[in-house]
Assembly symmetry: C2
């Protein structure tokens, strides 16, 4: 019989007892932020569970990792602590276990309706790296910007290309995104364009959250890399295509990306995703030994992006993709990132890059979906080349299990005009 | 008469009472890190000065900013607090003021010989941005990598190009640098090169340390940008040219840089540098209004790089450059960085990029000095194309005043083999 919680969880809920994603929340505006897990439409306060002495295993007893305003300390403890926390939480939330179920006072102290709490960034993010791991995305961008002869650069098939993004402007789902101002390509002999971006885009991504880091100078072996990853979140790497196109040669994207990146509040653990592992794409040419994995896994995570224009009642689905479309795996990303001795730290995040699939309906950004604005989309009849002020973009991600769903909730943000 | 300290400071010392740079140190291995200023060959412990109640002005009285393991809290307080701290310190260190001079107990508690303390990173660095602001460097790199027809990309003259570097691997002067492993260009149909970098380089840079940040969505006006900069440090942005060349298209440098970046321990404040301000180069084409400054200043800071090969007794000067060679000013960098709404935070750093001058002896890295290894340097008779294991690279920077020197000390690191 499937594991079941004493808390009522509908079959469409993203947060059954099989999931138990970790986040950080405030029960109300004034109270301090603390870690929690999502269960159905409730949030379980882990500081309350810890104070009640219920984390009694060897890795967590006596730890103050759940009395922190972020998950970094818990992430640093590594997989034994994560497994112990998950086992404890699945036990105390299960329908057959009385310790929380039958303790009204503890339930009152530790369970909060999800729609009443404020979610905050779950981690203090030291460094944010963004990869470029979808071949379809690389091919489409290359075709648009560098021509169809040789759309994917030669290096792309040998290494998971990445760059460092901006950590300070990563925001939690629900935060408004200011339309950035900046420079765009000059036309003819004129000075460059300057003003609000005319080509504001979303990027459908996910990001891995780093657990224990590695010492400077000590690479992580690709076959141990999963132990350095706590879980995944949804991510929207908002992009201003006109700013990016003008600035990115030769040092890569900068202001075209750094004005805002949105992540979803709930980190779904690799343990919860294990049931949805699937084979990663075959890699040809064969990767170099430091990138060759004994087992090379992706995850089958259905992804969807909806846009709701200002004043419209309904959202419109603009793309459906899947995490398994990625060519380079998250574990290969970790191995590559550290092969030069670069140190990762708990709470760092590794974005996947835009997750585009092979079909026209599975492209992960408007740049691709509208072919750089040449073929506008229709949002319930409203044409859309790039994002307009008031557009609300929502990413959803979920894995369909047998009678249950392991979901990520949503990652959303609304575009607002640049302040004057 | 020039301001003078009761502490003996020779005319060649980098740290007279006119300088007073801020750092963070441990008096000995076991004790907690705390802020200090350099004075002659001594370090003044600011936590001891604060505990003695000597920071009594309106901005600092009651603040615990000097009882912290880094300067971030002090930096966040902004220029009024920085001015007050400097005025207080110049007063209590002056030859005419008895409060510290005649208090043997306080002197014993607060003054430590510089050669006995351990300097640590003075700031917790949230984000590290690296600019590309020397025209000579841009031109030389462009000529080598993209040919002499059009060495400087069109965008370079319109905006201070930059990318995000790795914050986690920034280390304090004196830390060994592991030679990175990684991929390099394949030759012919072979797989890419893999192994220890064959083209390890230094980059002579300086970096601005951000004081008060700005809110997400709110750009900093270029004419107020100096209020967001606390001071400058020396920086060596170690680079693996073979890794960089193969990986950097299309998203910019990544593993070719992220294995280590060294900064000097003492942050020299803009106040101390004021006496050495000089006119910035004329910019043609005229910058867009958001980059146009009422007063456009550089600083006259002489910079020098020495290499000491393993086993040799003497260092060899390989280049002499100057901060005033930069085309884009630090204040323009801040204005550009935030024009899209990107938020800076206290303790962020903004690297200048390699500071090359126009003369062949003023180039800021081996890539330029040896023209990508084609013209080896002679280090006291030893030929050198790129850095070898055991090479110790030391950057020095100083401003010559009338009878005194305002210096940065040194920024050094030794290359050691990648661990097996």
């Amino acid at each position: 019989m499937a594991l079941k919680s004493f808390i009522d969880v509908g079959p469409a809920s993203h947060f059954p007892i099989q999931n138990l994603p970790f986040g950080v929340f405030r029960p109300d505006g004034g109270s301090p932020a603390r870690p929690g897990v999502a269960i159905g439409d409730q949030v379980l306060d882990l500081s309350a569970v810890a104070s009640a002495g219920l984390f009694a295993g060897p890795a967590l007893a006596g730890s103050d990792c759940f009395h922190q305003p972020n998950l970094n300390k818990f992430l640093a403890l590594g997989r034994p602590a994560w497994r112990e926390a998950r086992a404890t939480l699945q036990k105390i939330l299960s329908s057959t276990e009385p310790v929380l179920r039958d303790n009204a006072e503890l339930r009152k102290k530790s369970l909060f309706p999800m729609d009443k709490v404020e979610m905050v960034l779950p981690i203090a993010i030291g460094d944010y790296t963004d990869f470029f791991s979808s071949m379809h995305h690389a091919k489409n961008c290359g075709t648009m910007f560098r021509g169809p002869q040789n759309p994917i650069p030669q290096n792309w098939f040998h290494l998971p290309i990445a760059y460092h993004g901006r950590a300070s402007s990563i925001v939690i789902s629900g935060t408004n995104i200011f339309r950035p101002r900046g420079q765009g390509y000059p036309s003819g002999d004129s000075p460059p364009y300057f003003g609000p971006s005319l080509k504001l885009d979303f990027e459908l991504e996910m990001a891995a959250v780093v657990g224990p880091g590695n010492e400077l100078g000590k690479p992580v072996d690709v076959n141990n890399a999963a132990d350095h990853i706590f879980g995944l979140v949804l991510m929207n790497d908002w992009s201003a295509r006109d700013i990016q196109a003008w600035e990115y040669v030769p040092l890569g994207p900068f202001l075209g990306k750094s004005f805002g990146t949105t992540i979803s509040p709930w980190i779904v653990t690799l343990e919860a995703l294990e049931a949805f592992a699937c084979e990663a794409p075959k890699q040809e040419p064969k990767p170099l030994p430091y990138l060759a994995e004994k087992v090379s896994n992706n995850y089958d995570i259905s992804l969807e992006v909806q846009i709701k224009p200002a004043g419209q009642k309904d959202s419109c689905t603009v793309t459906k993709s899947n995490f398994k479309n990625l060519y380079w795996t998250v574990t290969q990303q970790v191995a590559h990132h550290t092969i030069n001795g670069c140190n990762l730290r708990p709470g760092d995040i590794l974005g996947t890059g835009t997750i585009s699939g092979p079909e026209p309906e599975s492209l992960g950004c408007l740049l691709e979906l509208t072919w750089n604005g040449q073929k506008p989309l229709s949002l319930n009849g409203t044409p859309r080349k790039f994002l307009e002020d008031g557009d609300e973009v929502t990413i959803t991600g979920l894995c369909k299990g047998d009678g249950y769903t392991v979901g990520f909730g949503t990652c959303s943000g609304k575009v607002v005009p640049a302040p004057q």
